[in-house]
Symmetry: C2
Subunit: 172 residues, 2 copies
């Protein structure tokens, strides 16, 4: 099936001039939901993934069923103050200001092969910070995967050195 | 397996006097992750669920793999301003102030049988608001399910009239 046909394009969200690709219309379609997870599973099935790091909050949406399908654990990468035990943090620049992500220090063990999952690859700052969190704990980032990639924002350049896979690509 | 043995108990989080039940230690354990989703799937397999409404953000964690396993769609119930298309909103009281949740108006069609999913049943306000959102769109709430239920907070009383199922119960 053509997954992109299930994505709703919303102009001027979250602000004027931005075209937002809405995954909720994919998710409410059982065939598209299954197909998206099956495509991700097929891509990563033989890559000896040990765990999936899913980025709050839409990375949870694609990351958890993929973890289940691959038979591995799931590590939530969260916004500050959400994880209750000892964490490490990484900040990254936004157009205005910075964002911070956290990961429990005991989420990753030395040498584990980790797949980082989010819904959207834009400039790549969020995914890059998540990869750094995994690596600081001794994990190896085996890949970084997304439902949607906005190719014109060149997030792949920021993620150079990582295997990057996306289900759908948009060039505008 | 004993799922509760994989939950980390964190005292004084998010504030003094609160004992926090941390699901991240369950999620990073592949056996526990699989078992939790399999138990939910077994419970709901024959209840003719049409879609799962998962509450941001940890409801996404349990709701999405369950949607995949049941072969149904997934509807994210989100905090204000996150959903890009037309929404309806429900507010509910907290100890101090109120919270609001939103759902796309086209998420549910008349008569659909919806399962509401979150990670934690405390006082039940969040789940109750989510049920109201589903019902306002013409959906029927077939059940409300949680990974963890804090029985001493009597959330089931607030959800009276709904079938409630939880994987783990804590009475303090």
């Amino acid at each position: 099936m053509n997954l992109a046909s299930t994505i709703r394009e919303v102009p001027d969200f979250p602000k004027e001039g931005i075209l937002f690709y809405d995954i909720t219309t994919l998710l409410k379609n059982p065939v598209a939901l299954k197909e998206s997870i099956d495509q991700l599973t097929a891509h990563y099935r033989n890559l000896q993934i040990d765990a999936i790091a899913g980025i709050e909050s839409r990375g949870f949406i694609f990351g958890m069923p993929l973890a289940y399908q691959l038979g591995v654990g799931f590590l939530p990468v969260r916004k500050p103050g959400k994880l209750p035990a000892k964490t490490i943090a990484e900040s990254y620049a936004l157009e205005y200001g910075t964002n911070t992500l956290e990961l429990h220090v005991d989420a990753v063990t030395e040498g584990q092969r980790i797949l980082v999952v989010d819904d959207l690859l834009a400039t790549g700052g969020t995914a890059q910070a998540s990869c750094k969190l995994v690596e600081r704990l001794g994990g190896k980032v085996v890949g970084v995967t997304f439902a949607i990639e906005l190719t014109f924002l060149k997030g792949r350049e920021k993620l150079a050195g990582y295997e990057v896979f996306s289900l759908m690509q948009y060039d505008a």
